[in-house]
Symmetry: C2
């Protein structure tokens, strides 16, 4: 959000340069978390302050929607038709999981056989 | 994902108890990150191992979709019609932002006027 370009500041400035008087900022987030509640309104306020005469409105996040239900149903149907079953043998043995979490992230150790 | 109930293990066990022979797990994530690529397949493999005779298939995440484009467009239209403009004066002064980031998360200090 703060990293990907165009940033909110850049995008609002471009809209302003193109003559926009009102800019709607639509948060591409599934739910109303910290980014949607605090960070995006703050960045929108900064963008509005930097572009006098341009109104910034923050839209609702994606949220619950029948279109999303339909989209997920499509994913499920497609997986049922074309998806490969997960190999149960790919499950990590419980002992290895416990040993791994006790040692912190040791993914760089190369010959760590147990 | 590991915290919210039902967990993948619980949900697959319920499906198995209800007689399912094939379970599709649909990741409710916008894109193909670590959870979708590693964590969910691993939890699905564990669930498959715990429920012999039940096939687990992991669906694609939400991803790019014309339904999502339509959903976002609806959010933008609704904001344009009913949304309130952000108050530019709500933007945090640059000095306060810099001071805040230098101190780490000090949100518990109650009278921290600058």
């Amino acid at each position: 959000m703060e990293l990907a370009e165009p940033t909110i500041a850049q995008a609002v400035a471009r809209c302003a340069a193109a003559g926009a008087q009102r800019v709607v900022i639509a948060p591409y987030f599934l739910s109303r978390g910290r980014h949607v509640q605090h960070d995006i309104p703050e960045l929108a306020a900064e963008a509005a302050a930097a572009n006098p005469g341009v109104e910034c409105i923050v839209a609702e996040p994606i949220g619950i929607d029948s279109l999303m239900a339909q989209l997920i149903e499509n994913r499920v149907r497609s997986a049922a038709l074309h998806g490969a079953a997960i190999d149960p043998a790919a499950a990590a043995p419980a002992v290895a999981v416990a040993a791994g979490s006790g040692r912190g992230s040791s993914s760089s150790s190369s010959s760590d056989a147990e």
